[in-house]
């Protein structure tokens, strides 16, 4: 705590000291508390009026530095008001009762004073790392983590089953289905192409719709195979393909 006499700020050295301390001072109640301490009496006994006088005198003298602590002004204004209220005859006192305000101020100063004293006593204790020291090089309590792997009989055996299954040679059994093979389609389409030089629609190359050939799946197979056969013939240069519109009928004609 700054022990410089704050009541004689006119002396340049003291004023400088105050200036240097402004960072630590933080605010008016703090300053007021120091002023109260200056009276060297129990906070409950001090005269708030005298305290206010001293504070205002200080503010007056330190006018030049007010910009450094703007809230000093608010406090000063409030204290000036309190002072004038305290000086007024009792019947002319404004509301609220200045005696109450003064009492509250006193109570606050007491509490702040108590905390400052407590802080000082706390800081004066034997502090770890300053007065007392913990072990400088602790060996540390090691915690080793170990994994305990778990697996059971069923997991083991069933996974072997899965391995066996996965690596067995895979045989695909395809059920026999009525189809027209590409070979037979190729044979049929090229044979029919020899008949005429006119354009013929692809569908005309399919077998007549009778007997087995009424079966829809077989017809689809025949159409697909005939289409592939047509492409093959075109690729071999033996047929022309023509389609007038997208998704329209596909026509083919022998290459002359």
């Amino acid at each position: 705590m700054n022990e410089a006499d704050l009541f004689t700020p006119a002396r340049p050295a003291e004023a400088d000291k105050l200036h240097l301390e402004l960072d630590g001072w933080e605010g008016p109640l703090d300053l007021l508390l120091d002023l109260a301490r200056r009276q060297k009496v129990d906070l409950r006994q001090i005269s708030i009026l005298a305290l206010v006088d001293q504070y205002l005198a200080f503010i007056e003298a330190e006018r030049m530095r007010l910009e450094l602590a703007a809230d000093y002004l608010v406090m000063a204004a409030w204290l000036a008001y309190l002072k004038s209220a305290l000086l007024l005859p009792r019947e002319e006192q404004p509301d609220p009762d200045p005696e109450e305000l003064a009492l509250r101020l006193q109570l606050r100063l007491q509490r702040l004073g108590a905390m400052r004293e407590a802080a000082a006593r706390l800081m004066a204790r034997d502090r770890l790392g300053r007065d007392v020291f913990a072990r400088g090089a602790p060996e540390g309590l090691r915690l080793d983590r170990r994994t305990r792997w778990q697996c059971d009989w069923f997991g083991l055996v069933s996974s072997y089953g899965q391995v066996q299954l996965r690596t067995q040679p895979v045989v695909h059994m395809v059920r026999e289905r009525p189809v027209m093979t590409l070979d037979s389609a190729l044979e049929r389409v090229s044979a029919l192409l020899g008949i005429t030089l006119d354009w013929m629609e692809l569908r005309e190359f399919l077998p007549a719709r009778d007997g087995d050939w009424t079966e829809p799946r077989l017809r689809r197979s025949a159409l697909a195979s005939s289409f592939v056969a047509a492409l093959e013939l075109a690729k071999q240069g033996r047929a022309h393909l023509r389609q007038d519109v997208t998704f329209g009928p596909l026509h083919l004609r022998r290459v002359a």
């Binding site: 605010g27 407590a118 706390l122 060996e139 309590l141």
Partner: protein
């Protein structure tokens, strides 16, 4: 001469990188009841160069305070707290849990954010929740590290806390005021608050 459990407790506390609770020690030592051993050790070390101390329920060895003058110069000083920080720390310790507004009400000034940050960073103060009032302000309390740093077995060891409490100096101004003016006219809260806040 001491028994195996006491030796084990002694070794574990020596080896540990930080203070240990009795429970932690017990867990390390396969569930043994460690309190008698701790007491025996504390006794044994009481007049040695190293003491066994309890801080907020955690135990640790540390050098004897009376040897500070010999050991101090070999060490870096711990960070110096600003006066504002020491005040805030004291207010939190003696009033915990407290909100920032309560701290400011006592100090009469706004508390710079950095001031609380310093204490939080040092690990001496932590947020312990929110107060169930409008705005739900965060409330602060001290940590076991705080007790350790200042050599306090518990908050009851805070210097003068009993006297302060008995004198009502840990009660809010409003309460103290009401107590003083009991029977008097109701106080104009608004005007008082206005005066108080501007301070």
């Amino acid at each position: 001469m001491s028994d195996d459990l006491t030796r084990a407790v002694e070794a574990a506390l020596f080896a540990s990188e930080g203070p240990l609770t009795a429970d932690q020690l017990s867990a390390i030592l396969n569930g043994a009841a460690v309190l008698p051993a701790l007491r025996m050790l504390a006794d044994h070390y009481a007049d040695r160069g190293v003491h066994l101390v309890e801080r907020g329920g955690r135990w640790q060895f540390q050098t004897a305070p009376d040897l500070a003058h010999l050991l101090r110069r070999t060490r870096e000083q711990p960070r110096r707290l600003s006066r504002a920080a020491t005040e805030v720390l004291a207010i939190i310790a003696y009033h915990e849990p407290v909100s920032r507004a309560q701290i400011e009400a006592i100090r009469g000034v706004q508390t710079a954010k950095g001031t609380l940050d310093v204490l939080l960073e040092a690990g001496w103060v932590r947020v312990v929740g929110r107060r169930d009032v409008p705005g739900r302000p965060v409330i602060y309390a001290t940590t076991p590290d705080f007790l350790n740093q200042f050599g306090l077995a518990s908050r009851r060891d805070l210097p003068g806390i009993d006297e302060l409490r008995a004198a009502g100096l840990l009660d809010p101004v409003d309460e103290a005021f009401e107590a003083l003016v009991q029977g008097a006219d109701p106080v104009d809260e608004g005007a008082l608050e206005k005066g108080g806040e501007s301070a």
